[in-house]
């Protein structure tokens, strides 16, 4: 009997996932919206338009550049902290990465809206548009003075994906055996050559898993993005343009969903799609990590 009850807490996480999926399915009423994956979203029109394509594209357009930037910065930090920085500096600087993870996303949002946004809108974006105007996507762009749009959202998401990405990359690089390092150096390679040719290839799966988990973080992020993305249900026409994401559209319309026929169902279906993509990405990331651990334990 005791044993039976002791199973219950262990079932909680699985039960939550199942309950969320079931409730979302119920809320969606399994409604088949015409043109759901199309680009036309306007629930005030008659008949209402339920195309969520813009939001799917918007989510990827913000999360993908963010995770690429986060991996590059995370690699830079990981390489510096495992190889070049003196131990003392590492011990002092490393905790700041963890600290970043503790900043609530609404704080990033307000900082982005009040500080970074105006700088982008008034200074950086116009400068970039002027100097890279010859490139497609940079010329003739509409630039909001508030700075709202893709670049601001990407900057905030990069910062938010950075802690988990950096942590995992740093761990991956730290797990490269000392022997392997020394063998590279004993062959007359510089530290950078060993890093590039041995340590990074050795830890490539850890780096990849950092990418997946960081992407999951950026993809699902809501509040900060909703504050800075501009909330316009149309495809961006330039790199500076406003658009909207899956998570942000749910957040912004949850009140309206109570009084708008069909909206609740549509948002529930967007949420299911968001959940599915996030779960897949997370599972991929975690599987990479666990395969990595078994390999390390078995001594490769």
């Amino acid at each position: 009997m005791v044993r039976f009850f002791s199973y219950l807490p262990a079932l909680v996480p699985a039960a939550i996932v199942v309950a969320i999926v079931i409730e979302l399915l119920k809320a969606s009423n399994l409604t088949a919206f015409p043109g759901f994956f199309g680009s036309n979203w306007d629930y005030t029109a008659s008949p209402p338009q339920w195309g969520i394509g813009v939001f799917v594209v918007g989510s990827f357009l913000t999360a993908l550049p963010a995770i690429i930037l986060a991996i590059l910065i995370g690699l830079g930090i990981g390489i510096a902290s495992t190889t070049y920085l003196p131990k003392l500096a590492t011990r002092f600087l490393d905790p700041f990465v963890d600290l970043l993870a503790g900043i609530p996303s609404v704080v990033y949002g307000i900082w982005g809206f009040v500080v970074v946004g105006p700088y982008l809108g008034l200074t950086l974006n116009p400068w970039v548009a002027q100097h890279l105007g010859f490139l497609p996507g940079f010329s003739g762009a509409r630039i909001l003075q508030t700075g709202q749009g893709l670049p601001l959202a990407v900057i905030l998401l990069t910062l938010m994906a950075l802690p988990i990405t950096t942590l995992l990359i740093r761990d991956a690089l730290h797990s490269v055996p000392k022997d392997l390092w020394e063998s590279g150096l004993a062959l007359g390679a510089t530290r950078w050559e060993v890093m590039r040719r041995v340590a990074i290839p050795y830890s490539h799966r850890g780096i990849l898993s950092a990418g997946f988990l960081g992407f999951g973080r950026a993809f699902g992020e809501t509040v900060a993005v909703a504050m800075v993305i501009g909330s316009v249900a149309s495809f961006p026409t330039s790199v500076f343009d406003t658009t909207d994401t899956m998570s942000a559209i749910i957040f912004q319309n949850s009140d309206a969903a109570l009084v708008t026929p069909g909206l609740l169902e549509a948002l529930a279906e967007i949420a299911l799609l968001l959940l599915a993509i996030s779960l897949i990405v997370n599972i991929l990331g975690r599987r990479l990590i666990s395969s990595l651990l078994t390999e390390q334990i078995s001594g490769l």
């Binding site: 055996p177 022997d179 392997l180 020394e182 063998s183 590279g184 150096l185 004993a186 062959l187 007359g188 390679a189 510089t190 050559e193 040719r197 041995v198 290839p201 050795y202 490769l300």
Partner: protein
């Protein structure tokens, strides 16, 4: 590092009054030792006698350990590798090293052997021939020649260690340091690595650290016995192992401590 003419007596590597201090503790005290061309010197001694530290000072790997101070000099072809302005990276390209456990890199067999050549941007056909030659010299060629593109991690432990020897040989060093290279291998694999070492000792200078007197007897032509950081005696293998002058050596080779 430039390549001065070899010392007049043909000595490739010469250690003079070498002392190593780590955290106020003396690990090696005033060791002087010559390594003639085409020889295999076994450095033996009980655990903690400083033999691994000793061999790591010979290509400046020791300085990767923080807090280590090296005094005295190590002359490679007459030039002090601890001299002013000598780049340790260039020292290590001339004086190769093989470690206790096989340390193949996560890449193909070919690329492992080619590693040292790639970092000096050797031309492709030169890489090809150097890799082939190195794999032949290490005694691995016949086993791997048909699948050089296979991951090196798929090789057995003994094969991996011979690949590590090949990798060190590919840059054609005049000196090869081996730090207990068979301690992680089974007897059959050990035998093959020993055969490789014996063959190579007819070509280059080999310095083998081993705790195994039997191995020293099988492959070396000279034995240096270290005890508590002091070089107790050095001489031809037969002399040291059969007629040791020092009672400490006598005790060690008869297995009374170790």
């Amino acid at each position: 590092m430039s390549s001065p003419a070899p010392a007049a007596d043909g000595t490739v590597l010469s250690v003079q009054h070498l002392s190593v201090v780590a955290k106020e503790k003396k690990i090696l005290s005033d060791v002087s030792l010559e390594f003639p061309p085409r020889s295999l010197t076994a450095v033996v001694g009980p655990s903690g006698c400083g033999k691994t530290t000793f061999v790591r000072t010979l290509n400046r790997m020791s300085e990767l350990t923080p807090g280590i101070r090296v005094e005295g000099s190590v002359l490679y072809l007459g030039q002090d590798i601890y001299g002013r302005g000598v780049n340790p990276v260039l020292v290590r390209r001339r004086i190769g090293m093989v470690f206790q456990r096989p340390t193949v890199f996560p890449m193909s067999i070919f690329e492992n052997a080619a590693f040292g050549l790639r970092i000096v941007h050797e031309a492709e056909d030169a890489v090809d021939s150097a890799v082939t030659e190195a794999l032949q010299r290490s005694g691995l060629w016949d086993e791997v020649k048909d699948d050089l593109d296979r991951s090196a991690l798929s090789l057995s432990g003994g094969q991996q260690q011979r690949l590590c020897i090949a990798r060190a040989l590919a840059v054609r060093p005049k000196v090869l340091l081996l730090d207990e290279p068979t301690s992680a291998l089974d007897p059959a694999a050990t035998q093959r690595v020993e055969a490789t070492m014996e063959r190579l000792s007819e070509e280059i200078v080999m310095v083998l650290v081993t705790h195994n007197v039997g191995q020293a007897a099988r492959v070396s032509d000279r034995v240096a016995f270290l005890h508590s950081g002091h070089l107790v005696e050095v001489g031809p293998t037969d002399d040291i192992l059969e007629r040791p002058k020092d009672p400490l050596t006598q005790q060690f080779i008869t297995g009374r401590f170790g």
